[in-house]
Symmetry: C2
């Protein structure tokens, strides 16, 4: 991103890079950096925890603008990523721990499903669906490791 405000968006070479940029923009409440990770598809979809579905680039931008208007930087930790890779599409599931910077109390975790696609301008986000997770003791249920009889 240049400081002149021109739309020189970065080219992301992997879904992982888009995800890193997404959470970095979230932590810094940086609206331009946030919008640089989104695809320019009209169907992009963003669901903030407990919120409505927000569809379309302008509406998604407005939703982040409102969220970032509060001001303070956030401490954002992401963990336990689960990745599903397909042709030109990657689906990541992560746990988000978001707290106000300087706040000692760890907020409740969120589960986020993030969908990325590879287009002519590299990888971009097309869906972000975040919702509250239950308490930390039961954040993931997995198949038991297979035993050989």
């Amino acid at each position: 991103m240049t400081k002149t405000g021109t739309l020189q968006k970065p080219i992301f070479t992997s879904a992982k890079d888009v995800e890193a940029a997404f959470y970095d923009a979230l932590a810094r409440s940086d609206l331009d950096a946030m919008m640089a990770v989104w695809s320019e598809d009209e169907e992009v979809l963003c669901i903030h925890p407990g919120g409505p579905r927000v569809q379309g680039l302008a509406a998604v931008r407005e939703s982040w603008r409102e969220l970032f208007a509060g001001g303070p930087s956030l401490d954002v930790r992401v963990s336990q990523g689960i990745v599903q890779n397909f042709m030109m599409v990657a689906v990541h599931s992560v746990l988000e721990f978001v707290t106000l910077e300087g706040d000692d109390q760890l907020g409740p975790p969120m589960i986020a499903t993030n969908v990325y696609t590879r287009g002519p301008d590299g990888w971009r986000m097309v869906v972000h669906h975040a919702s509250p997770a239950p308490d930390e003791r039961s954040l993931m249920i997995q198949d038991a490791p297979r035993t050989v009889h």
Copy 2:
């Protein structure tokens, strides 16, 4: 599905067909029909509203078994679908209205992100992420129609 319990899974020719079968199985609390819509990928992921991430076919099956153990059929209505189609992958966002059959009160809506992929055995579900939506008045925010100046 045959009545003998063999694993003759149906072949779905579109993501839309998988979605219809998914909500039909949910409405009938039919565990075998429910599991027939899921991909056999080890990474399949299911997030019930407010619940933890459930990963893997056996764990996903167990989560539905527990949900269906309650017994009564559900009245399931799905609306306002938003579809994003990619190569071999489709991402559907829907609003779910689920009520116990015979119950007059409409439950709160859920937002579901459903991801489907096309594999050698046709289309299957790989991700279901459902979470509570806000009240009905603000279920979707969209870009305003574009005006030409």
